[in-house]
Assembly symmetry: C2
Amino acid sequence: MLRIAIVGATGAVGRECLALLDGGIVPVEKVVPVGSARSRGRDLRAELGLSLPVAEVVTLDELDPDGLDVAIFSAGAEISAREAERLAAAGVLVVDNSSAFRMRPDVPLVVPQVNPGLLDTRPGTNIVANPNCSTIQLVRVLSPLHRLAGLEDVVVATYQAASGGGVHGLRELTRQSETILEDPKAQGAPGGRFGQPLAFNLVPEIGLQDDTGLTHEERKLVREPRKILGLPGLRLRATAVRVPVFDCHSEAVHVRLREPVTPAALEKALAATDGLRVYPRSQSPSYPMPRTVFATAEDRALVHVGRIRVEPEDDRAAALWVVADNLWVGAVLNALQIVELATGNGWLG
Amino acid sequence: MLRIAIVGATGAVGRECLALLDGGIVPVEKVVPVGSARSRGRDLRAELGLSLPVAEVVTLDELDPDGLDVAIFSAGAEISAREAERLAAAGVLVVDNSSAFRMRPDVPLVVPQVNPGLLDTRPGTNIVANPNCSTIQLVRVLSPLHRLAGLEDVVVATYQAASGGGVHGLRELTRQSETILEDPKAQGAPGGRFGQPLAFNLVPEIGLQDDTGLTHEERKLVREPRKILGLPGLRLRATAVRVPVFDCHSEAVHVRLREPVTPAALEKALAATDGLRVYPRSQSPSYPMPRTVFATAEDRALVHVGRIRVEPEDDRAAALWVVADNLWVGAVLNALQIVELATGNGWLG
């Protein structure tokens, strides 16, 4: 039975985390929600209608590492960078949802379906990093393709949902959409959660651009899969785009493989992979869509892959369309599956 | 002074064609709008408030090729395949917006900014094919890249607007969006203009799939650029996706070149190309977006390109984000620029 702190408990990711814990994904003795001073004392158990034993919201300063097994951080990279190591040094296993520790060589970056072996033993740093949302769904399909035929080159274009901008991002999309439906010529101003108006529009910039013109999101999509797959030299190119969809990220993935493949072999390898739902060519529709994936808890917990094809003129070139709930598969569920794996390996709780 | 028939004059593309002709893009003596029997006798001049000399709508059966210089077909591949050759044989230059003739070796497939030389003389078939909307904006950026450094491999993911589904497609997106804003859990049924509900959703299937799993739109995106660029062996892969945007198609384009390039050289080559608007890295935002491109007639007439970058680890790999109005640049404007080019070359009108 675990004693778990949720840092950033009142945000979009924190609330999904509480909901999934309430569903019984790991055995819980108590949950300590951690929030800002403004949220101090709030009773999330009542607010969210949970049956879990959830304490009142405390601030990070008040959080006592004694009597805690795990702290799940979902409060942004700045807070993680400042506070996570203190808790880890006090013996708490930190599972960090931010980008603060992902590329540190002494911190394992874990997707339990892909590289579970990294958690056979407790990491010396007491920190496990949870990858970026768009990375997780990508590596969960790249991993079986690599085992099947060897990855040589990957190009991915993303179609990312407003829920990646949290509760405020969802509200912005709703309000801007209402405005445009009333006045189709309305032009919003730059700013807000996505930098530019998102309703009925596309914003091909997620996070700041570096000197090379890559955005922060694209850098994560390029670097994190190499570390998770253990392929430091993998050629990977990405364009990350925010689209006017509420929930679930989608990705158009084009790969080149070392060995020739057939569509049937691709479908078979993907269908044999834990946690994937495959939409075969023989089925209609032969692809997942964000709104249908988000409609049920069962589908929100899976990575969905369709439009599986091999280029007619190049039997080493394959393409896929991948959809997953960025808050569940892409964040909370992966973090809780890390906790589950650690518990199962006998060194936690 | 040209005598022009517009076949499919009452559709979304036909109406844009009349509006652009009214703007004086080519000198016009008279316009004969051609529609279905249901539209027979309609006065589009009054309906659309045009100052052009526009006759009443006639049916194709009634259309007299005598006294016509040009017929622009925008009524779908079936009608083009059935009727275009009869007009062409009677001496009318047919500019065909459908896919009916594009891949025929004896029919030039023309983008005036890319391969104008094909119209130095009148084609023997009297038919000129207008490429697919998503192809036109793609080749208009690929062409200068090829001249700069030689194209080796192209991967494109599209983000295509509802206006590609005509007036009905636009209405569907509006109505479905209103429904979901009122009831966020509403799940539409398959069907309609896009095969699946589009509002706040993504539909990664445009046109029917063939045996290899490529959709009709993707086949066009792969084959047409090879013919237009005169590069029959060009490696090109595509995923075409319908997105909940009203107007303007967008494309995430990743290319590999034969020679190394710098971002500055890319920006310079693109900026020197006729009809492109470049969003340099030094500008904010450094990219076009569909809603802002659609906002002015000036921008609707250009191809917009931003997010111009070279991969940090591979100086032969470049990426771009391309936006253009699929009805203007992607259809009508290209067709009228073909007419303009033919007139300028002295063999038409």
